[in-house]
């Protein structure tokens, strides 16, 4: 199984839904079910963290005279 922290929201969500699907079919053994549940709980926590940490940040890229980007500056009031 891949490290959950490297998963994107969508990957984690898809795996979570697949995990729940497996649990729901009831074909897993009790041990497998417990493993699936633990994995599912971790995936869910990962997704929730991603939703929680969402915050707006608007920056404007600053450009040098030759048009190359040099950095960013925060943008307010848009």
């Amino acid at each position: 199984m891949s490290d959950i922290n490297t998963l994107s929201f969508e990957e984690a969500m898809r795996e979570l839904e697949a995990t729940v699907g497996k649990l729901e079919t009831g074909e897993a053994t009790l041990e497998e079910s417990i493993a699936l549940y633990e994995r599912g709980a971790a995936l869910r926590a990962h997704c929730e963290a991603r939703l929680r940490e969402a915050e707006e940040r608007v920056e404007k890229i600053t450009l040098a005279a030759n048009g190359q980007p040099t950095g960013t500056e925060p943008v307010e009031g848009l």
């Binding site: 649990l23 939703l51 848009l78």
Partner: protein, 518 residues
């Protein structure tokens, strides 16, 4: 008076108009002269008050013409006027005498120069399409939830506001604005440079590399949007490895970047909607999935629990498990006991020995059986205790049951083996007792025989006596001997035949040299 009437002004003969007369004359003149005109112009300021009438300016670089489209006609316009749009307006001129103004009543507007430009655009589109720049296979899927979104647009104006506003509503995001001119000179170069520059950003540089690019501009004339038809922009968009949404102009405007982009949004707001999902929806979906998982997990635990109960029921009394071995024990026991009894009886009959410890055996058997019963009961209780704790695993239960069964079976075997050993022991003891008894009898017999022999007449014969056997038994008197025609005389070694001597008196003479035994 003369002085006063002198010097009439030049043109004193000319007709004097009232303002209204003059305004009316101008109005008539203008309306006659310009009753139907077509004007090529750029649309200036546009205002749509609640009255529904449409007021706008038509202008070129030196003059401005006020224009109005009345409410009823405004709805029927092929092209609604947008600021900056190059149009050809059709209508009539009229004046507004109350304010000394003139204006154009516009009843139709069409994009200017469309025909020529569109033909050129179509040629360019075909050439780029032939290169494969617009192929479906080149399209990249948009990320489900981009971490950084770059917007290539004018940093001021409604477009960036619309995009940020909609992003805020759906999923607050990290947005990088790459400022560019969205029309006029330098527009195409700047937009292309922005797309390339964003693609060139290192994944972990000072400027975070975006995982989605939106190229956006508000509506405008074909000429205004022309920068987004330039080949340099189209190629940059096609080459972008970062998924790109184009949102240039209004829904009816199509520019070539729209063909090269991965997705085309009809408006900047729509681009924001394509860019991110709605956070609240995701949270709801996540919550729902979490709830499903809890339910499924409860079931995953409930199912084995139910199965455990079912199995426990199916097992019934665990004592049932030892019934087989017990039956074997009973069978063996039942066979053992009669066999033993029979054997003991025969021995007892033959040898009249002391009573056999059959009762002891029975007691022993019974004790064994009690022991088994106790084990069964304890097994039953232990089983029940285990079953009452459903979290215990079934296979552990099974293993322990098996072990118990093995133990019970083994102890049963042991019991039978011990019984056999005891039986063997008894047999040995019985054999030994029999041998002893036989030896004693034999000794007695030998003694008696010796006595019998001692008491018999044959020993007397050895000492010189003889026995006379007549035809009708022993002859014990001379008279009897005289009567017998013949007889036998038994000596110690043999018998001889004899008869009384003839001519002798019937009185027996005393035998010479021979004594009778009696």
């Amino acid at each position: 008076m003369d002085l006063l009437e002198d010097e009439p002004g030049p043109g004193s003969n000319a007709h004097e108009f009232t303002v209204s007369e003059l305004s009316g004359a101008v109005k008539r003149s203008i309306e006659d002269q310009f009753g139907r005109v077509r004007v090529r112009a750029e649309v200036g300021r546009v205002s749509r008050p609640s009255s529904g009438h449409l007021y706008f300016d038509l202008k070129d670089d030196r003059a401005v013409l006020a224009a109005v489209t009345w409410k009823g006609q405004a709805a029927r316009l092929v092209q609604r006027p947008e600021e900056g749009m190059e149009v050809i307006a059709t209508g009539r001129l009229t004046t507004f005498p109350g304010q000394s103004k003139y204006q154009m009543i516009v009843d139709q507007i069409e994009p200017a120069g469309a025909g020529a430009l569109m033909a050129m655009l179509e040629r360019r589109r075909k050439a780029l399409a032939a290169e494969g720049l617009f192929d479906e296979a080149r399209k990249r899927p948009l990320p489900f939830l981009p971490r950084v979104i770059a917007v290539v647009t004018s940093p001021s104006g409604a477009v960036i506001r619309d995009i940020l506003h909609r992003l805020r509503d759906r999923f607050p995001s990290h947005v990088l604005i790459w400022p560019v001119a969205v029309q006029g000179e330098g527009c195409a170069q700047q937009v292309a440079a922005a797309i390339r520059g964003l693609n060139a950003l290192a994944p972990r540089g000072i400027i975070p590399r975006p995982d989605l690019i939106i190229v956006a501009r508000g509506g405008g004339s074909l000429e205004d949007l022309w920068g987004f038809n330039e080949e340099i922009v189209v190629r940059a968009a096609a080459e972008s490895t970062i998924p790109l949404i184009s949102a240039v102009g209004h829904e009816t405007d199509t520019t070539l970047i729209d063909f090269a982009s991965d997705r085309r949004a009809p408006t900047p707001t729509a681009a924001a909607e394509m860019a991110v999902p709605v956070r609240a929806d995701l949270a709801a979906r996540l919550a729902e999935t979490g709830a499903r998982m809890l339910r499924a997990n409860a079931q995953a635990i409930q199912r084995p629990r139910q199965r455990l109960r079912d199995l426990a029921r199916a097992m019934g009394r665990p004592a049932a498990l030892i019934e087989g071995p017990r039956q074997r024990l009973d069978l063996q026991g039942a066979r053992l006991e009669p066999a033993l009894r029979l054997w003991l009886q025969s021995r007892r009959n033959r040898l009249a020995l002391r009573p056999m410890p059959a009762a002891t055996l029975r007691q022993f058997m019974q004790a064994r059986r009690h022991g088994l019963d106790r084990i069964a009961v304890r097994l039953d209780q232990a089983r029940l205790r285990r079953l009452e704790r459903p979290q215990d695993r079934l296979n552990q239960l099974q293993e322990r049951l098996d072990a118990s069964l093995r133990r019970v079976t083994a102890s049963t075997h042991r019991a039978i083996a011990q019984d056999k050993m005891r039986l063997g022991d008894l047999v040995q003891r019985l054999d030994a007792a029999l041998m002893r008894a036989q030896r004693q009898r034999r000794d007695v017999l030998t003694r008696l025989d010796r006595i019998r022999q001692t008491l018999g007449y044959k020993e007397t014969l050895r000492r010189g006596f003889a026995v006379i056997h007549g035809p009708e038994g022993l002859i014990t008197s001379a008279a009897a001997a005289a009567r017998a025609p013949q007889f036998q005389i038994e000596f110690a070694d043999a018998r001889i035949e004899a008869r009384p001597a003839a001519g002798k008196s019937r009185r027996p003479a005393p035998p010479s040299g021979q004594k009778t035994l009696l």
